[in-house]
Symmetry: C2
Subunit: 249 residues, 2 copies
């Protein structure tokens, strides 16, 4: 985080973050960000062409091209080949990419990085319990029940169910009034599922138990029972936590 | 998150994330990541020169250069000018940059993005209460008390205290057995403090109250009292939350 200050510039270059106030030069990427802000553009809006940006900002083509690539990596802009360059969705993809790589890079230490990701997922799910239960109390959710049914069917047949699993968690959090929480949990889900196979951690055991725990979470939420919801969340993470414990020994 | 799959490749290109299994071409950035993994390099280790990477990977200089820039944005590699290119720390800087920009970009909607960041900080601080209190129970922490004293002194003089504030929160979380939580809270702290001045939200009011709440958090942790800790955390966020509510009206 020490370098956040250098990179997170924008409208006011002197913003202090991370305890440092390093004066910095405004980069071409900063100026494209300023342009987006100045024009009031929103995600999905079309940006000027490369040539137009060169002229507008008074910088070289290669400068603009590099800045666009950098902003693409951060999902601040999105290049759709043949269609143009657009304001991006500022998703958490960059977070996922860094964390996946870190998770794979430093596996020696008892899979610490993966443990931390799973611990954080569990923490957030438990912390959100009351709010999720409040949002679901007394509702019926056939689409989420269908996902649970599909997960249980796959688990019974010995197959994993990552797509249904992710859709279930996303669907649960979509009702919260905080979209960042849902995105963050989704990002950690992606890290978790991308790292697990690369590390050769077995999660085949207890597939069925994990699948059914989703059903318990949903029923507890619909019944308005936060305590039961938290219990189901904990059960849901038990197989992967046990698998990690076994690997550590 | 839809595109996480395309970008989060590495050792096994077929990893499924985000519910998609799009086959993808391995990019030069992926191959540099594979090189880092294959050689067992760790953060801070020196990478081969640009020329050596070109030869090793059989790609052009401009390809390598672009890939290095992309990986730099993600803090997967770090270029130290005049010294070489090193494996980076995989910090959450990219997350901060995207979120800061999003926070500034979409302020119309009752400062929703900033509200979400603050809500998430509060949620994580509360969720970690038991663990922080467990780590601090019965300890004495002169360096953290000194930070509180400095914050109160600055607040009394009408000055903000971002450096001490961040150091305090980082110090509190540094004792946890999950370094990712500390990094994430630090990242959200950076987003928060970078976005607030850009949006012109006043936080000058209640500076002193915020400063003193840090002291209450620390004393509650040392006294081993999670309930009192949670109360102090809630008090700590009240001024900024009230300021946001006033802006919304």
């Amino acid at each position: 985080m020490r370098t956040a200050n250098r990179r997170s510039g924008g409208r006011s270059a002197g913003v202090k973050t991370g305890g440092r106030a390093a004066p910095r030069q405004e980069t071409t990427a900063d100026r494209i960000k300023d342009y987006i802000l100045g024009e009031g553009l929103q995600p999905g809006d079309l940006l000027p062409t490369e040539a137009e940006l060169c002229e507008h900002l008074g910088v070289s083509r290669s400068n603009v091209r590099e800045a666009v690539r950098q902003l693409t990596t951060l999902d601040i802009v999105e290049v759709r080949h043949g269609h143009g360059t657009f304001v991006g969705n500022m998703s958490l993809d960059a977070l996922v990419e860094s964390l996946v790589f870190r998770g794979v890079l430093v596996p020696g230490d008892d899979l610490r990085a993966l443990r931390e990701v799973i611990d954080l997922r569990l923490t957030l799910d438990l912390a959100m319990a009351e709010r999720i239960v409040d949002a679901f109390r007394g509702t019926t959710n056939p689409e989420l029940h269908a996902l649970v049914k599909e997960m249980v069917a796959k688990a019974t047949g010995g197959s994993p169910f990552p797509d249904e699993d992710r859709a279930f968690h996303t669907g649960l959090l979509a009702r919260l009034d905080n979209s960042l929480v849902g995105q963050l949990v989704g990002a950690f889900w992606d890290v978790h599922t991308a790292v697990v196979p690369k590390l050769g951690v077995s999660v085949a055991v207890d597939l069925e138990r994990t699948a059914r725990a989703h059903g318990d979470m949903l029923e507890a939420a619909e019944a308005g029972d936060p305590e039961r919801f938290r219990l189901a969340v904990t059960t849901h993470y038990e197989p992967i936590k046990r698998s990690l414990d076994e690997r550590a020994n």
